[in-house]
Symmetry: D3
Subunit: 172 residues, 6 copies
């Protein structure tokens, strides 16, 4: 029974500025594969986001507690920020796997290079690619923000709570 004594941990890293329905679908896929999933918000000092890092953590935690990520069984979810290489953060939290979403062949070619770089840094940490519902192919944080700024619909991109927070932020 030794194999079950060790919790299997995964990370799903991104900027989550803000979390989208595409991210949420990915998290639900990844949650099947690990005992604990860390939604890891990378701090990029060179890039000013719409939401602050603590705000992004809060938005994700709120979805975990009361929103679209509530009630996932068999996997503990948590949001954390980090300010180092993703593979080093994975080492620190003891993750066995980093999950990445793939939407198109363009994604794949870029992701392959990144995955090989990470494997070169620490071959014990794996990269697993997941796909989501094809209807979410075009969903991204930046597209959601652009749609709000151009009076488009975003109900297929964001949860109600996050849509509301994003509209508020963008109108400041």
């Amino acid at each position: 029974m030794a194999k079950k004594s060790k919790e299997r941990i995964g990370i799903y890293a991104g900027s989550f500025d803000p979390l989208t329905l595409g991210h949420i679908a990915m998290i639900k896929e990844a949650a099947i594969l690990v005992d604990r999933l860390i939604i890891a918000i990378g701090i990029n000092p060179a890039k000013q986001g719409l939401f602050t890092i603590p705000e992004r953590v809060d938005l994700i935690n709120e979805e975990i507690k009361n929103g679209a990520l509530k009630g996932i069984k068999g996997c503990k979810l948590e949001a954390k920020s980090y300010d180092c290489m993703t593979v080093k953060f994975a080492q620190q939290v003891g993750a066995a796997v980093m999950f990445r979403g793939l939407r198109s062949a363009n994604d794949f070619n870029d992701e392959l290079g990144l995955a090989l770089t990470n494997k070169d840094q620490d071959s014990s940490i794996k990269t697993a690619f997941l796909i989501t519902d094809p209807t979410l192919t075009s969903v991204s944080s930046s597209m959601a923000k652009a749609l709000i700024q151009n009076d488009g619909k975003v109900s297929t991109y964001l949860t109600p709570a996050i849509e509301k927070a994003t509209r508020t932020k963008l109108s400041l």
Copy 2:
């Protein structure tokens, strides 16, 4: 502790005619992510293989017991054949995830369609894509067989035991 009471099972399906070093690298990657990994040999009545299905099972089991797949910790490996849709076989064995290797963007486009078809049949069974060492990009069973038939080197394609078995088969 409920989440640990359930074993996480994955399948890695293929024709394995025969198992290559590319397959072996994939199996080692996948073994990190599940408690049990079933190497699933699809029976294709329309396609005459080089090895019979029981021979392929034996070759894989031999590598698990005494070869390149020996000593993998935290994951039980086993070879099984099946003669139905892969997603149905995954249901039968209680698998949470089907692993697929991705080598190129061409692979991705084909695999995406297959993964979406499988998701449409049973959305509870996930597809996770893994990559292997880039040196194994060009390794395939058919290339290995073609190289042997054309007096090429196959030591980067097959284990010694499987190379020997394949040479014997091809010289019959």
Copy 3:
């Protein structure tokens, strides 16, 4: 008003063995762009289909009269078979445009070569590529037939009438 005196005709060619929901979505897209759309069934003597050519014509005509293709406004639909190069058939029926569906980047690379060949044969006949709902990405006639033969679900692939006809054919 001269420009309106000429009816704009398009063709959507394929083997339609049988028509799928993916084809139907494409036809609905193309119907917006032309006054008449010919669903053109290519006769391939080298390839034995599941349905005969007259059966395929009938299945499509039945969907136009009473099924999923009923009630399309502003565009007359009709099914026709042909046994020459598609671009020559387009010339014969006076078509301005041939519609093709694109599902992935792999499709695109193959289709580009075909479109350039057709342009080389007759540059006055255009090729327009359309996309369908992403949920239909993995839908194909061959996949639908394979699913039926393997006890899979096909309700997202075929209309009820065509599913029934296909099940009957496959059980003969």
Copy 4:
């Protein structure tokens, strides 16, 4: 004859800074498919162009009146600028279809996401992808400007009038 009472309108959107021979080839393709084609110049406040928006409109109108776009039959061409989402502009002008040029598989993957976003905003407006002569694959406004600045040839990229205007602008 009801179907002919409604004019079919298309838009071909871009920044056209300036119009290239690649754009012109696309416009000629699209003109076969609609009764009216609006060459729609998107206003991007964040991006300073070489030509002002009114200058770009004038350059295109001049080609329509006296240049490479003169004499196209069966389709009325006009240049218009807009400063909203392209799909909203399409709604405003009553367009049935937005045309996009495809040059490579990279283009396709990016364009697919955009087309799906637009379909999500308004599913009644279609996206049709066209290809141009393969010799025009590498033609772009930015390449034309870079070639002029580096003493390269641009006669395969720009009409004489637009080449002259661009050289004048770049020498200011």
Copy 5:
């Protein structure tokens, strides 16, 4: 001056059934890079061609002597057949490089695997990829044959001599 004492040899392998204008454009590109270029016709016992191997050699030699490949300076051209792995044939003739044409990203992904396999067999023999005029993107031997059989134009695919020979063969 030692470096000039050694002739640089390249091979351009294919089935050439028959040689097309696409092949000819490739040969002209490759001829700039080597002192001797062997047009290498692979013998595939499993595949019955239209022309016999000696006929294909003759057709190419005729173009070298009196046709589209006449007058190439600084590179000696010759057609040879071979019935082993291409990389082994390259070793036998002392070639430094194998040339391959690339038409699309699909080609690239397939060619990459092949090039890596060849590098694995003999890392001293290089693979160099060349592109041709974009107008030749869709040219292939099989497309030329299909066009002749379907009463299409092939003047952009074949030289006059090879078109004549192909028409004769196909009408037998």
Copy 6:
């Protein structure tokens, strides 16, 4: 013997900020194909690099004299900077061919456009694409710099001398 009286010259252009092991592998491939290979450092006034142009030249020359590029037979290597279009620099130095590395299908689509533009400028100068060891797929100057700044390993990316110089520069 006329063909041997003319030296065959190639250029391998890039920003080399700094030279990586990926570049070095490419240079070794290209060196087989030409008598002289110019490692051409493009001066981009709009982009501030880590190393100055003379520093980059020195780093490359040092590798040629005493490092990883020492002892290449049959091809003279030299580093040169240039501040015009690459194809014009190729003309100036009498190069027959420009070498480009291809790592993925994404690379290919971008490179194809560039190669066609260059062919349009001067069709006598060829572009040849080479591949490197697949283990070097993810190696780039920018990745090497990012890894050093994030305490990652770079021994698979840079030579010892260039790693040292880069660490020194980045710590200033």
